[in-house]
């Protein structure tokens, strides 16, 4: 522009000078004083008109150039604006954040994305590459820088990287960054432009899928996925199996994919279980079967097998997922268990029968002895020695009879858990029991106190309750202390679900700590007493427990014994 103005000026000065000189030379030749003024006026007028025309020409020419330039500039500006707009829309659509790095000046600038996506304010952003690098996750930064510098040194063609970029709130987003390098004529990189895409969601989804895949890969259950097409086969074709299936069946992935799952179930078509299964498949319903299947080497194994239909977002049935588990061992154990139970049940039955037969065969001759002895009671025996012998004979027989009867009771209790119960008046049962052992009671004369202010009854089997009282009472009298008069106290307490009966004596007591485990055991004797059979407490416990109750003992040697019995109330 300046050059052109100078040029015009120089040309004008030159032309004007030539014109001035020419007019002077002309005026000198034809000079006379009276028309010189007129000549000057004409000359000046011509000069003015001439220069005016030239000026007009240049101004017009210049104006023309300017307006086309402005026009061109305007078009350029509109294009730039449009491109920028387009670029912004694209950046927005792709959620790209664009950065521009002028490498030589280390000037770094970001588009709006840095604010919109990563939450930074305008003032937070510094226009250096350091600001960018500082926001890359420490675990990613080394790897990322190596790759980036290798690109800047043009050892690689393309630059694209995934790393974690820090947001304003301190959290990290996964980004996919792609960059382009601008190189000058000397081959030096001057500028790099990048587009950073937020792929956090994709990454998280990937992680989730990876996790799900790990489940399928690592689970011990065999997972088989089939398509949903049953036009060709009754059971659809396999599209995927996991390693557990290979381990379980011996079939490799390639052996099974594309084939109907039916070949790997091992059931016959006429099997009712299989028919149920195909019906479920037709109805697209979940189903579960247990069947014998065959491995690749033809070994049999039990498999528990479920099929679940899978539907896509349009609710179209697309696949089946089948979970299979080898239950051979379990089946084996179940079978063994069943067999064991059968055996035990049979053994138990046999033993029970045996105990009844034994009991019967023992009782038959014993009852004869008892009968015969009772007959001798009415016969006068003159021989004193014989009398003594028969007396001993009689005592032993009665003791044997008692033992056999107790054992018989134990057998019956064990065999009959459900027995008839009724509400029993404690005082009345006590009277019955004392009558049964009146000689023992009379000889020892214990002080018996019953504390039952609320007139509570006991819900129990009558025979069991009296047997319990009899055993406890007999024990208390047998094991009385020689140092004091025997005293027995029976107290009854009411509880929401049970009635508590406390049977307490002041006898010689039992070392509870010492005999803890054995107290209620079979054939356990704790005192050297000739009549002791070691059955009483076992029988008592058995009878109480068979009625759903429980018994506890507290005792102190030489002070006395306390039995606490809970009788369940009627439901």
């Amino acid at each position: 522009m300046k050059n052109k103005a100078n040029k015009i000026t120089y040309i004008f000065i030159l032309v004007a000078t030539v014109f001035a000189i020419a007019s002077i030379l002309l005026f000198e030749k034809k000079s006379n004083s009276h028309n010189i003024l007129t000549l000057h006026i004409i000359k000046d007028f011509i000069f003015i008109v001439f220069t005016g025309l030239i000026l007009r020409y240049f101004i017009t020419k210049n104006n023309k150039g300017n307006s086309s330039r402005i026009e061109k500039q305007n078009i350029d500006n509109a294009e730039i604006h449009e491109a920028k707009e387009r670029y912004d829309i694209v950046a927005k659509a792709t959620s790209d954040t664009v950065w521009d790095w002028k490498i030589v000046d280390n000037e770094f600038s970001w588009n709006k994305g840095i604010q919109n996506v990563y939450g930074y304010d305008k003032d937070d952003i510094e226009n250096t590459s350091k600001w960018w690098f500082d926001r890359i996750h420490p675990e990613d930064s080394i790897r990322m820088s190596v790759k980036l510098y290798s690109f800047l040194e043009q050892k690689t063609q393309k630059w694209q990287d995934e790393y974690r970029f820090k947001c304003k709130d301190g959290s990290y987003k996964y980004v996919l960054d792609r960059g382009f390098l601008v190189i000058d004529e000397n081959g030096t990189p001057t500028r790099m432009i990048g587009a950073m895409q937020d792929i956090t969601k994709k990454k998280e989804e990937e992680e989730r899928l990876k996790l799900l895949e790990t489940v399928i890969t690592n689970t011990k259950d065999a997972v088989v996925i089939t398509d949903s097409d049953i036009s060709e086969f009754e059971i659809p074709k396999i599209v995927f199996t996991n390693q557990a299936f290979t381990r379980m069946s011996g079939f490799e992935y390639d052996d099974v994919v594309g084939k109907s799952l039916k070949s790997f179930i091992g059931v016959e078509s006429n099997d009712t279980e299989f028919q149920k299964f195909t019906a479920s498949i037709k109805a697209k319903q979940e189903c579960e079967i247990e069947t014998i299947s065959h491995k690749k080497n033809n070994d049999e194994y039990w498999v528990r097998f479920s099929m679940v239909p899978v539907f896509n977002s349009e609710n179209e049935h697309t696949h089946w997922i089948s979970i299979q588990r080898d239950v051979t061992e379990q089946k084996k154990q179940e079978k063994e268990k069943e067999q064991l139970i059968n055996e035990l049940t049979q053994n138990n039955k046999d033993l029970r029968q045996f105990s009844y037969i034994t009991s019967h065969n023992l009782r038959a001759p014993l009852s004869n002895l008892m009968g015969l002895l009772s007959l001798t009671e009415d016969i006068e025996i003159p021989n004193e020695e014989l009398k003594l012998i028969i007396d001993g004979f009689s005592k032993s027989t009665y003791l044997l009879n008692e033992t056999i009867s107790d054992l018989g009771r134990v057998v019956i209790i064990r065999d009959n858990p459900s027995i008839e119960k009724q509400h029993i008046l404690i005082e009345e049962s006590f009277k019955n029991v004392i009558e049964q052992i009146n000689i023992l009671v009379e000889n020892n004369n214990p002080k018996i106190t019953i504390k039952n202010d609320q007139n509570l009854s006991i819900y129990s089997n009558k025979a069991y309750f009296e047997s319990i009282l009899l055993n406890l009472l007999t024990n208390s009298i047998k094991y009385k202390s020689t140092e004091r008069e025997p005293a027995i106290t029976i107290s009854v307490f009411n509880h929401p679900n049970f009635t508590e009966l406390v049977f307490e004596d002041n006898g010689i007591g039992i070392d509870v700590e010492k005999y803890k485990e054995k107290l209620f055991g079979l054939y356990q004797r704790f005192h050297n007493y000739p009549d002791s059979k070691g059955l009483g407490l076992y029988l008592v416990k058995s009878q109480i427990e068979s009625m759903g109750g429980e018994i506890k003992i507290e005792s102190e040697v030489n002070k006395g014994t306390k039995f606490i019995i809970n009788f369940k109330k009627e439901n």
């Binding site: 019967h360 038959a364 009852s367 009968g371 015969l372």
Partner: protein
Amino acid sequence: MLQKVICVDDDPIALLLSKLVISKASFASQIVTCVNGEEAIKYLEKPETIEENSNSEQPLLILLDLNMPVMDGWEFLEQFSNKLQEVYAKTKIILLSSSIDPNDIQKSKNFSMVVDFLPKPLTKEMLALISEKIKT
């Protein structure tokens, strides 16, 4: 006093005992003993026994053991129910056994002529109880 008691038992001592207890207590004027169910059925089937029974006003009492060879107590009860029940309508049977098997007690309730299940040995106290039972 009853006119007749039939004691059915394979154990001679048990039979002896029953006989002694019954006669001592003057419980019946005649005591018949049989060693198994079959012998008892045969005895009951005799025309003279039937005739004697139909002439008697007193009910006939049978003390029956369960565990016997040849024909046990249960088989006897079956045959009695099938063949003799009508003829011996008044007859009462007491099971006298050493068995404590609750199933036996339960099973005995299926026979209407069985009035009680008693444990051996027979005693005079039991005879008093039996008298009460057969009255009703």
